[in-house]
Amino acid sequence: MAQDALQQQPQFQGDIVESGLLRQLKWNIQDTLVIAWRNLMHIRRQPRLLVLSTVQPIMFLLLFTFVFGGAIEFRFPGDNYINFLLPGILIQAVIFGTTQTTVNIAEDIQKGVIDRFRSLPMGRTAVLAGRTLSDAARGLFVVTLMLIVGFLIGFRPEGTILNIVGAIFLAVSFGFVFSWISAFIGLLVGDVETAQVAGFIWVFPLVFASSIFVDPSTMPDWLRGFAENQPLSAIANAVRGLFFGDVSLQTVLLALAWIAGIFLVFMPLAVWQYGRSTD
């Protein structure tokens, strides 16, 4: 009966009911790319967004290098603070970038764009995967830019090319999985104003109570326990180690485990929240 209704509609060109995993996968990938394209077009049409998301980490880089660098090197003579700082600040840059995702998703909900997507025969993961993928592209751009600026002010990595590529890969992948968290929060709060705060506020302590800016061994005990064991430190340590070709396999595996763990938890959570009908 249902098929009947469709066949009597010869002008309907949409994708007629069809199963098959491969086909579904193909559509999912295509849908994801379409959404990623859309998000990248947003950046192209509003370059100020990209400027904002790069100016801020560069400012952090310069401020920390020149304002605190002296004091930190004074305490640890012989250290070159920029070499410590840059690998860590890459993590901060990609993470701060993804907080924009929370806002963007909330905006799409508020404007009804998500409703339109949800009423289309597209893959359930595509809207979010497209978003996190375009975030990763932006992350790669920001990381590259930071490396150039870092090099200009004295950053000198010592690892092999392979090490350095690995470090960049870790930083960008962490940004990618982190943006699934940001997307999940955006779906949860659903309005732009809340998202502006909710997407951001909790990230601050996470970034500062870590090995991104300073060695946690200088922190008070109660904080150090957290700072040494939280994921941002795990990633920062691995990235830093890779840049200087001085890293244990265990450190890299721990970073990869965090990346995989966050992905495996927050990807399904976000997809589930997306599929849930919003009231």
Binding site: M1, A2, Q3, D4, A5, L6, Q8, Q9, Q11, F12, Q13, G14, D15, I16, V17, W27, Q30, D31, V34, W37, R38, M41, H42, R45, Q46, K111, G112, V113, D115, R116, F117, R118, S119, L120, P121, M122, S277, T278, D279
Partner: protein
Amino acid sequence: METIVAENVYKAYGEVQALNGVSLSVPKGQILGLLGPNGAGKTTLVRCLTTLLVPDSGTLTIGGYDVLTEKDKVRQIIGLSGQYSAVDEQLTGRENLIMVGRLYHLDPANVRNRADELLAQFSLEDAANRPVKTYSGGMRRRLDLAASVIADPPVLFLDEPTTGLDPYARKESWNFIRKLVTEGTTLLLTTQYLEEADYLADNIVLINKGEVAAEGTADELKANLASDVIEFRPEDRDQRQAALEAVSAFGHDDPQIDEETGLITVAVDEGSKSLMEVVRALDQKGIAIGDLSLRRPSLDDVFLSLTQQA
């Protein structure tokens, strides 16, 4: 064959019972006007029918597919233009259409032609390559309509497609909507305007406070109400209640009173005969009246009497 079917649909948001047992159906190729005032539950029903919202209970089918369990199949045969234009501000009009077309999995080679065709059909050619943020409200609405039909879906939902448009743009949109449905599309259209339902729809379902208050063609609704309407106003405020009681026997439904102006409306069968009886009844009770009139009913009377009763 019924293409859109909703049976006994209930949906509450916390304390608010947005849908209180709504049933309706739309035969293939027909246009149903879902008419109701603000807050009647129109959007809620449309969201339930288009897989966006799960009702608390009830059955929903589209083209024979169960909306709750066969979401994917339903999504392949429906088009939706929601209450607020859901077009992407940063993309151009053409890009918006191409994006939606690709997400319907249309053939990439055809999607461009189809987009251009729609841009022409909806008079958006000149603005096709401008970002949507430069569009007027009417243009956005048209683009949103175009997006909803890019895959020629056999079943279409338009939620208040002309709300917020000026009268000129509204008339224009009516023409577009008429064109959309000439090809056998089944359409459910919501509106707050009787005139719109009257002009566009084959059948009208009037809902109010989450319940179906009346249904039928525009003519049936008018005929059902009454053939004539008597209006009068008691001169003395204190006699309003007495006047209502005195005439309550004459109307089809309970007489209506406008609390602000004190105007009482009685819907009756045979105007002039009833007029005499009404005047006599009021006279017997010693109620002095002013502004007495007898007129033909408008669809607005149907709307008002049905939506005020509940």
